[in-house]
Amino acid sequence: MGESGRQGHAATAPPGRDAAERDRLAREGIALGAVVARRLARKFGGHVSVDDLRSLGNSALPEIVDTWDPSRGTFEAYASQRLTWAMRDGVRRETHGRSAAARARALLASDRVSRAYAADADEPGTTAEAHVGALDQLLRAHAGAMALAFMTADPEAEEVEDPEQRLVTLERRRVVRAAIAALGERERALIERHYFGGEQFDAIAADLGVTKSWASRLHARALAALGPALAELRDR
């Protein structure tokens, strides 16, 4: 199952939604999908067309309509989030060219960092330095998430044909693996298995004996540490 199918509400439709209601929600979802598609197309820098993204969103709409639970938020908020995931996941799976696929994977990784921060209790520091430190940590985590997604691109899966580009990609993977080796044991396992092994996040969390939310925190922490680890490798 893709990222779009694993988040949010329960996977069963709340009882009592009739056909007319489903049609109304589907129409609303199509309009939302157009907005989300235009926004994502800009993010992908023209590598994926708005129409392709809308098509990916429309494919996910029946499930989105079925799984929306009004007691847990508005349809607009739920559908916008699910449509975003569906489009990003679709681009990643269907690989509309290396660049778009890598960007989709980078956005998904950054989304996971956002969810970790959203789930954390808000405990602001009391000094200006603490506030700046918290901001820097957050930025490093997002930067690490996106960079890791680019650097762990598999040249086979990404269909990199240019021999020179393949070598560059393989060298990136070697360097980032060396940086990951400097992380703590659980962080290292999480990053290695998810980014290099392609294992689902939930499965790794279960295997490590931690909750999904705790795994997300480990993930964010590992990513924030990745940049300094890479810098240290370079300085040696």
């Binding site: 926004r39 993010k43 820098g45 660049s99 890598a102 960007r103 980078a106 956005l107 950054s110 956002s114 921060y117 959203a118 954390d120 808000d122 602001p124 520091g125 200006a128 506030h131 700046v132 918290a134 901001l135 820097d136 957050l138 930025l139 490093r140 997002h142 930067a143 996106m146 960079a147 680019f150 650097m151 990136r172 360097v175 980032v176 990745l226 940049g227 300094p228 890479l230 810098a231 370079r234």
Partner: protein
């Protein structure tokens, strides 16, 4: 260019976070990540809040510190793309 990147203080924080990855990703990927970090600060609620807290308060010509929400980068985050960031 993302409007948050026009603020030198914000741009410096973003550039600092990205610095270790210079040369390990392509120039296009690097520039794209820079834009995305700015967009994250604008659109992600937790990131926008962190920015509002950390950004230096602006001081007007009288030397008076302007109140929170009066022109700091977090305000730019709030109105970017017309989305509230909470």
């Amino acid at each position: 260019m993302h409007r948050l990147l026009e603020d030198p203080w914000v741009a410096a924080r973003i550039d600092d976070a990205l610095a270790p990855y210079a040369g390990t990703v392509s120039d296009q990927e690097f520039e794209w990540m820079r834009e995305q970090l700015a967009e994250t600060l604008a659109a992600d609620p937790a990131a926008a809040r962190a920015l509002r807290r950390a950004a230096p308060r602006q001081v007007d010509r009288s030397g008076e510190v302007l109140s929170e929400g009066s022109g700091d980068p977090g305000d730019q985050a709030d109105d970017h793309d017309g989305r509230a960031t909470g």
